[in-house]
Amino acid sequence: MNCEKSRELFSDYIGEELSRSNARELKDHLSECQTCRQELSLLSSTKAALKVGWPDESIPQSLTFEFVEPSPQRFWSQLGRFSLPKVAWVSLSVSVGFILCLLSLALLRTQIQIENGKFKLSFGQPEQLVSATGITQLNSRTPVNINHEAFQVLIDEALQRFEQNQNARLQQALLEAKAEWEAKRNADLVRVAKEFKYLESTQNVVWKETVRNNSYLETLARDLYVKTSSSAPVQQ
């Protein structure tokens, strides 16, 4: 290996990425060449001086980012858009469709009869009405007559279920909003504590500087006094 080839490996050596085979060759060359040996030694010393001369310093003030998240007030507006999952949208549509269907059947005064396995559907005035209380007494052999009042009951029940579901979702949203608010509040408290600590350390540094300055001034004053008194003319 010549000096030129040897210098090409200096970067690998300094960067601690020298392969074994190259290390062996470089070592052999350095044992013979004093110039290269001296240069590599100086480069290594330079690297060491750089590291010692400029150590890592602490950041003046730590960074913390705040992220804006949807506020609880916007829940309903989001609900009207895309906040619900697809499954919820499908079930909601089916429920509404079912309710509308029942309503239209009720408005048309539809009668449904099932007799001996035969299904009969008719609209308009009923020939024979069965009271709402009578429905419970019906069995599979008895002809089934359902009037619009029975449908009304069903509709009321469906509406009630729908309302309950909505209330449950609202409650859940409120709970989530509360938890979110508390988390944010805790983060704020942590940040305030950090700021306070930083302020405290700054005050400490200022106090130390003041003490140091005072002692320096005192020393200066003392020196000045000594010099003045020694150079003052002696009164005869």
Partner: protein, 198 residues
Amino acid sequence: MGLVRLADKDLVQRVVRGEGEAFNLLVARWEKKLFNFAFRLTGDREDASDVCQDSFVRAYEQIKQLKDASKFPHWLFKIARNYCISRYRSEKKLPKLEGPNEGDNELDLERLLSNHSSVRIDNGHQFEQNELRLIVGRALEYLPFEQRETIVLKIYEGLKFSEIAEIAECPVSTVKSRLYLGLTQLKKILTNNQRGAP
């Protein structure tokens, strides 16, 4: 909960999913490194703080574009490095990006050495820490940007040549050459090279 134990890669994935706290954890992990990197490149504490902050904001905005989450630190250094370049180009404060020619180099070295003619590192002379800090700072400032960047990333941050090449967008051989040239320049400054001596 338990975010602290997660690797950078996992935290990046959480940030992509919208977890802001995960990003704050990445900031806490890397802000000191990034600040010191920017400080050594710019030589100015306030500029370094600004670069650090801007880099994190940019990183958050563009984190979805990071293809390999495990390379977050290098990607972050690259953002900061680009900020340093654009910042100083706009203020026309960036020292020469091209390597100085030999004649200017000698003159500048003489001028620099005349201020610190007693500085040597080859004869066991012990510097005061502040003195050495000043000399190292001035010496780094003197280097062309590419050499300074390579030295900071290799000597101070301990990155591999291949990683530096990725950040600086150049071949590995160029990175090695920049390290050698930069260190040789610094060696001349720090060892006085027998020219500043009376």
